[in-house]
Symmetry: C2
Subunit: 541 residues, 2 copies
């Protein structure tokens, strides 16, 4: 047999080399027949760690979590149109977060697609799906083209883009040229000095100002500069509702408050502001339009200025803004707030109290707690320094478990804590198996309220009569109640059920002392304020 | 308060009325904010039974199972682009099976989409996704249009089409006209007499002939006519690889053999045939193209004639074909084959033997057994009369659990038996919860071989060296092993694990005596022939 190195390269090898040359070291995969040549390439080399996931939203959600923490892409391996479709929701969350991701979707040989085998769509092609949800999509026309697409996708992904390569099998097995040299990054575009000057002007005009940060403005030196600007000008640091990438918070970080998700709460929160300056964040639009309601959460007449988009160089821009504002002093930093162990009823607030007390320094906190999230967020303000991830950037739910998996793979030396609502968690429960397999160091806290609680509020906006049992049956998860301990056990993750705040505290403390995934099932009610709000929106609909 | 009937109708009411007027009585749902007005309409009336599912592939896969058994559509309720995307795989299986389905996808208010709230895609719209995988897609331009789309979709769906309605929330709440009267069905197009004459001519030319049936040709009078033709002409009754809709089989039905899925086995199976006549089935194309292999399973030179497509009136066509062939006699019918209880090792064949012995008359057998399917199919040839459903019509896996759920909802008085491979079953494991909730009368037999076994074969086609541990790690489900009993218990379904053929037989018999879902976890090896084939394809690659 002729040794491999003397044989010409095939397309799969060219693609694989292009990704490895670009520095990619991790692949989240749910492969099928059309990806076998890449499975082989991954298998015969040491360059890439494959992580098998049992459903594709786990694959793509893990790539999102990985990319957010690493600041660099993993690649995914997905099987034809339906395998890609199964992962679209989390591709979309990643795209709306500007997370670096490279997706590789195998398809049937290009010459066979017109024969209409089973996987071909009745009215479209894989690339129709891929293009709609990716920043960039390339479909290989030849084996050599596959390597070119790999190099282009990896380079573009690094700038915070989701790039999808559609790879017909004949392009895998045909002979190919080696991939081109990875293009050097052109860097992010700079924010125009005029925009910075205008923002600086606004910050000194005496009006009540919010500086709304998003994406990379929420971490590192960018955040510190923003903190200096706030300290100097009196502006309040806000964040986009679902911080994209991650938000550095806790002890020693400039405190930032995300604009609340829920419409009426968000409107109230922004009411005091006369002007808002956006740095890496979009405008505060309502997630949903409601009949006869405005679509912006900011008050009428509030001056909105988008100084910089998430695509631009936010750190340099914020440094310049600090300079233009004369903000040379130290920013106000969040002090550590002491928290004693909670007692009594197990509530979201009690869980937050435990986290504030015990969350280790440099932990990664993933929040898909839904209606139970805000009390925990509030209670952990003064916890030790940690990074906060929110998967819901594209509105799609179920991102929590895969995001925690991906973050743990990206940062094996950091403890990941996942706050997981039960309804959302069920979309991607398969992620627990990959956590067990990979010994991912994740503590999963399931906040079990046996309902899609958020929808009770949304129904209250449109119903003319009281909610009846039949309506409730479409929002309720209690019949039968979900046994998370049993489900986790079946998926290989050790799990316990706790009933009181004390039990939770004890269990969480014990979990911190161990490595590998552990699940704690917490029966918690939907916070009372939520039902009060439900009444309010129903009355004022 | 003014009573409802004096108020003008809104768009949600017009849409709901259009679906109810068309006879739709069941809704599989995973609603979100943009579907709340339909949740309300379903809730205040008795017309429609809502079935909540915890992930969207369960919603759409259940609608596929329901539509196949009912011959009429249910409607689905899905939330925005990502909720629809989560269900695309099973929408696609349904579309490739020509199952009647109406999907309703809520979206943000049309006037709010350009504001780019979270759910908007970075590079496309809901309808881009919906159009690619549906036979028909309509997006409402107004509230009245919503009712018009409902009437059109329901009528078209009945002819075996997947129809998707994209419904912006402002079209739900705006005032609307009542929906138009449901259009009367125009019936299916008739097969041209010339085509029937040509098929009849082929059937009498003395060549070895296969009559390949698909879709509605596999049931009822159509199948009986085909059986008469076979008895008269000596043609062999074959079926498309994954029978769309369902296949009536067992005692008293004309026996039909589907063309095997696996390429080499399929080629061997079709080798004897000099001509194939297709009635409601596509040509026998390989599911995947392989390097230097043909893309058709039929032998070179075999005469292929597509007499009728799945869209046409197959029953009338087969009646005419029987007449043209002088096939007035009785068809050869499958006799009941006695089967004694199996003993010893728990294998797929042993499970088939139990089913042959115990499967009750009129049962519904859903087959997503993957590599363990063929031995069970072979062993149940002479079981009592039953209907056979195969979800993999579009190649997407995970259809088994939702299809069994949907079939059980459609046919509450029939026992449903699901043969479920472990890898596929994990994609849509959430279906178990809906089965528990709805008391669906399903026996779930999990065929647990701890692997995506089919992929070992596919890897063997492309690998140049032996499979190593790293490659295996991308195909293997054994680390950790999946605890189906625990998972099912957590989802509310009683479950047991059996280790021998005797235990399985006993457990299955007991399950037949009870109502409601029950799961039996069976540790079975991948059949030995499969590994022999793996060796063969590797050698001849």
């Amino acid at each position: 047999m002729v040794p491999n190195q003397e044989k010409p390269m095939n397309g799969a090898q060219s693609l694989f080399k292009s990704l490895v040359d670009a520095g990619i070291t991790t692949c989240f995969a749910n492969p099928g027949t059309s990806e076998m040549q890449l499975v082989y390439e991954i298998g015969i080399t040491d360059a890439v760690r494959p992580v098998l996931c049992l459903q594709e939203d786990v694959v793509t959600g893990a790539a999102d979590g990985y990319g957010r923490m690493k600041g660099a892409p993993a690649f995914t391996l997905l099987h034809v149109a339906c395998g890609f479709a199964n992962g679209i929701a989390m591709v979309h969350n990643a795209a709306r977060a500007n997370t670096p991701v490279v997706n590789v979707v195998g398809t049937n040989a290009s010459y066979h697609q017109a024969n209409y085998p089973e996987h071909e769509l009745v009215n479209g092609r894989v690339s129709d799906l891929a293009r709609a949800v990716s920043h960039w999509c390339g479909e290989a026309r030849s084996a050599s083209h596959l390597g070119e697409l790999g190099a282009a996708a990896a380079a573009l992904a690094k700038t915070g883009k989701v790039c999808t390569i559609v790879a017909p099998t004949n392009c895998h097995w045909d002979e190919a040229n080696p991939p081109p040299t990875p293009p050097s990054s052109s860097g992010r575009p700079q924010v125009a000095p005029e925009a910075i000057a205008r923002a600086a002007g606004m910050l000194s005009n005496g009006k009540k100002t919010g500086l709304v940060l998003g994406n990379l403005a929420l971490q590192g030196e960018a955040l510190e500069c923003a903190g200096r600007v706030a300290a100097r000008t009196g502006a309040v640091l806000l964040a986009e509702t679902f911080p994209s990438r991650y938000l550095a918070r806790g002890e020693g970080r400039p405190p930032v408050d995300p604009i609340p998700y829920e419409f009426e709460i968000g409107v109230k929160f922004l009411e005091p502001f006369e002007q808002l300056v956006f740095v890496g964040s979009g405008l505060p639009v309502a997630t949903f339009a409601y009949k006869n309601k405005p679509t912006l959460k900011s008050p009428p007449g509030c001056d909105l200025f988008a100084m910089a988009s998430a695509d631009e160089d936010l750190e340099t821009a914020l440094r310049a803004l600090a300079e233009a504002s004369g903000a040379t002093g130290t920013p106000a930093l969040q002090p550590r707030t002491p928290a004693s162990p909670p007692s009594g009823e197990l509530t979201a607030a009690a869980i937050g109290q435990t986290l504030c007390s015990l969350l280790p320094e440099n932990a990664i906190l993933v929040d898909e707690a839904a209606t139970n999230g805000p009390p925990i967020y509030a209670a952990t303000k003064g916890a030790r320094a940690h990074d906060y991830l929110n998967p819901v950037t594209g509105g799609a739910i179920g991102g929590g478990p895969p995001m925690a998996l991906g973050a743990a793979i990206a940062c094996p030396d950091r403890k990941v804590v996942l706050l997981q609502a039960d309804g959302s968690g069920m979309y991607t429960v398969q992620a627990l198996w990959s956590m067990a397999r990979e010994k991912a160091d994740v503590i999963i806290i399931v906040l079990k309220n046996d309902a899609y609680a958020i929808l009770g509020l949304e129904l209250a906006r449109v119903r003319e009569r009281e909610t009846n049992a039949k309506m409730k049956s479409m929002l309720d998860l209690g019949k039968p109640t979900l046994g998370w301990v049993e489900i986790a056990t079946g998926l290989g993750v050790p799990a316990t059920r706790v009933g009181t705040a004390e039990e939770f505290h004890q269990r969480f403390e014990a979990a911190l002392g161990a490595k590998g995934p552990q699940l704690i099932e917490c029966q918690v009610s939907t916070p009372k304020e939520w039902f009060a709000l439900e009444e309010h929106v129903h009355r004022t609909r």
